[in-house]
């Protein structure tokens, strides 16, 4: 037994050099575990073009922020990392973790102010190169719709609710969504609905306190949200985002409200005959779409390979790089560079077309109101459980925001 242990120890010591190897390549952190295949292909292409090898190391989305923070705090961060927009990404910049991108060629020229703004700190520093935008959509099962004789997609919120009722009456679960994971009910459902109710200008007015977060519009938003609840599956309280995807993908529910980013996995993993539509606006409102500047790529200021990092970021910010990137982008992510890009993929084109002729805006709370994230999630949960009213939620959120503004 002792000899065995001694042998094992020798084996280990001889293995140690292997553990220390594998340097000289760059590491890219990301929250997109689902996209490993596509991004690996993109990075392989980049290596072919430039000779720089970049390894993709994604972390589960819900743990990404914490993990990245921990890595950066401890000097073991990846050389390049996906950067969330606005406050979440900015927070890392304020701690000095990001390469400032202002003088990287292309960053100031090839993006619109509003897109770049999502990754610009208060001091004017750009802390990441904008990469892709996402939206929220309603996926629907074409076969179920055909069986039920539904030929026309709903054009207003009221028609959409009526459609849900029709499906429910036919014994079909209309929506696959649940609330167990907390984030999706806010990020995918509520924030996706908002641009149908007000525009960018209104958002600014809400942020400054000029408009109240418990005005009629908001009560209407929450009331409309509450209309969805009867159409969630039985036991929706314990259905997480993944379960909802599976439920829809296996044809157990007619529709799923989720991010455009799920499009790729839904198509790849299931043989569901699927289409998607934007959130229909309530009758009388002008339709809008939440087109959220979501994914930027930042350089780690402490990277051991600063030149390679800058070169990659410059490539991303160039029209050529963006075109190649767009060819590899997984379904549901829309390029946001201000240059003519041809999209090969039919689905991405269809997705991009959803915003035509609509007001678009980023997610309501992202720019300034991130403190409202957790209270909103908690209140939405309470509404779903029938323990909170739309008016009550509006008042509660408004009170919190007024308190925050007062500080």
């Amino acid at each position: 037994m002792k000899k065995l242990l001694a042998l094992a120890l020798v084996a280990i010591v001889s293995l140690l050099p292997i553990l220390a190897m594998a340097d000289g390549e760059l590491v890219m952190g990301s929250w997109r575990t689902d996209d490993a295949e596509q991004v690996n292909a993109l990075l392989a292409k980049y290596e072919e073009l430039t000779g720089t090898k970049i390894r993709f190391e994604p972390t589960t989305s819900t743990q990404y922020n914490a993990t990245l923070r921990l890595q950066l705090d401890n000097g073991t961060g990846p050389d390049l990392f996906y950067s969330r927009s606005y406050a979440t990404g900015d927070e890392l910049y304020l701690n000095g973790f990001n390469v400032v991108c202002n003088d990287i060629p292309g960053v100031m020229e090839n993006f619109t102010d509003s897109v770049r703004g999502a990754w610009t700190a208060a001091d004017g520093s750009v802390f990441a190169v904008p990469f892709a935008a996402v939206s929220q959509v309603i996926y629907y099962n074409k076969d179920i719709f055909a069986e039920q004789g539904i030929e026309k997609l709903p054009e207003t919120w009221e028609e959409f609710i009526a459609l849900c009722q029709q499906l429910k009456d036919a014994g079909i679960t209309p929506l696959a969504n649940g609330i167990h994971d907390n984030w999706d009910i806010l990020e995918c459902v509520l924030l996706g609905m908002l641009p149908n109710y007000f525009t960018y200008e209104d958002r600014v007015a809400y942020e400054s306190g000029e408009k109240k977060l418990n005005d009629e519009t908001w009560v209407k938003v929450y009331s409309d949200f509450a209309q969805l609840i009867p159409f969630f599956p039985e036991g929706f309280e314990s259905i997480g985002n993944n379960d909802a995807n599976t439920y829809f993908g296996l044809g157990q529910a007619a529709m799923l409200i989720d991010g455009s980013w799920s499009c790729g996995t839904l198509m790849k993993d299931y043989d569901v005959n699927m289409g998607f539509m934007a959130f229909p606006a309530p009758a009388g409102n002008k339709a809008g779409l939440c087109l959220h500047a979501d994914m930027g790529i930042a350089g780690n200021a402490a990277s051991a390979h600063p030149e390679e990092v800058k070169a990659f970021l410059a490539w991303l910010a160039s029209p050529e790089g963006a075109q190649i990137t767009a060819d590899y982008l997984p379904g549901g992510f829309l390029p946001i560079i201000n240059a003519p890009i041809t999209l090969q993929d039919e689905t991405i084109n269809e997705m991009a077309a959803l915003s035509e002729g609509k007001n678009t805006d980023v997610r309501f709370i992202w720019a300034k109101m991130m403190d409202l994230y957790t209270p909103m999630v908690e209140n939405l949960n309470a509404i779903c459980r029938g323990e909170q009213t739309p008016q009550g939620m509006a008042d509660a959120i408004n009170a919190l925001w007024e308190e925050a503004l007062a500080k």
């Binding site: 922020n65 914490a66 979440t88 167990h180 907390n182 259905i239 991130m370 994230y373 459980r385």
Partner: protein, 313 residues
């Protein structure tokens, strides 16, 4: 020659211990060093950290501010007392159900005339060897109404199809039961060992006196293993206030639904290590304050028990 006798005397615990004492230190120090540097010191120094705020770069002495925040801040204290209370419920399930089952199984498994004891024992113990994370994910699937709902309903077992892990009234119970299910083997085996240590003559004498098996059980065997029950209680207490994986795997880091399954372990991770989703700024000071509070609570429970059990020698 003298050196040799010295050695023997030292060995037998004789008077000339001093030269031996220095010698023995060499054997103790390596282990002691690891233990102190990587366990005892970090534990005690966490107390000091709880008096600071900010992360590595911007550490600042703030006195008791973290404790004030932990116990009086509207949101933080609500979460803390909620997790604290949940932890006691979690502990109560283990104490009452797991340990009762343990005694029951141990009583059965120490029946010398019963067949198949070894077989049962092996089966009961299997879950203890599996990672909590693995059983957690597994039960998350099994308790999901989406998974087997159709099959169960078709079999007339529709009442089993419920959002067990999503309903606030059942979530904590379910998490506790999964943990009880997994760990019941440990107290069982400890009680088996304790029952086996009871002198057979005692039981025999009682049975000759006409005591029923139930009387033998409640009046002789149980009282004799009270010290072991105390030991098991302490172990359960410590490991329950240490629990993290079971909630992490079944109910997310937030202790969904609506923090009803939030335990000290998940709360500590969220505040001290990871920071709250979505921004994720950790507050190590508050985390240290949480762990310090628990540290003293455990210490209060553990030291008296250790004193009494160690004192008997």
């Amino acid at each position: 020659m003298t050196a040799k006798t010295n050695k023997i005397r030292a060995f037998q615990g004789g008077a000339s211990i001093k030269p031996g004492g220095v010698y023995w230190m060499r054997y103790v120090i390596p282990a002691l060093a690891f233990y102190v540097v990587f366990m005892a010191y970090p534990m005690i120094d966490s107390v000091r950290l709880s008096l600071y705020s900010g992360t590595a770069g911007t550490r600042e002495f703030v006195g008791l501010a973290n404790y004030v925040r932990l116990f009086t801040d509207e949101v933080v204290s609500k979460r803390f007392w909620n997790a604290f209370g949940n932890n006691w419920v979690f502990f109560a399930w283990h104490m009452l159900l797991q340990n009762a089952l343990g005694i029951l199984f141990a009583a059965i498994l120490t029946n010398r005339t019963m067949r198949g004891r070894q077989f049962y024992q092996t089966l009961i113990f299997i879950p203890c060897t599996i990672a909590v994370l693995v059983t957690g994910y597994l039960f998350k699937l099994m308790m999901n109404p989406v998974w087997a709902g159709t099959t169960l309903k078709a079999a007339g077992l529709g009442f089993l199809v419920r959002p067990w892990l999503g309903d606030r009234s059942t979530a904590l119970t379910c998490v506790s039961l999964v943990s009880v299910w997994q760990w019941v083997g440990i107290p069982t085996m400890m009680f088996v060992a304790a029952f086996q240590g009871i002198d057979d003559d005692l039981i025999e004498a009682a049975s000759i006196e006409g005591a029923t098996p139930w009387q033998q059980f409640t009046l002789i065997r149980i009282p004799l293993i009270v010290p072991v029950i105390g030991m098991v209680a302490i172990m359960t207490f410590v490991s329950n206030f240490n629990a993290f994986d079971v909630v992490f795997s079944m109910e997310t880091l937030d202790g969904a639904p609506d923090y009803t399954t939030d335990l000290i372990g998940t709360l500590f991770y969220r505040y001290g290590i990871a920071g709250q989703h979505p921004v994720g700024i950790p507050e190590p000071g508050v985390g240290a304050a949480i762990s310090t509070s628990i540290f003293f609570m455990l210490l209060c429970g553990v030291i008296p028990v250790l004193r009494t059990t160690q004192g008997k020698e």
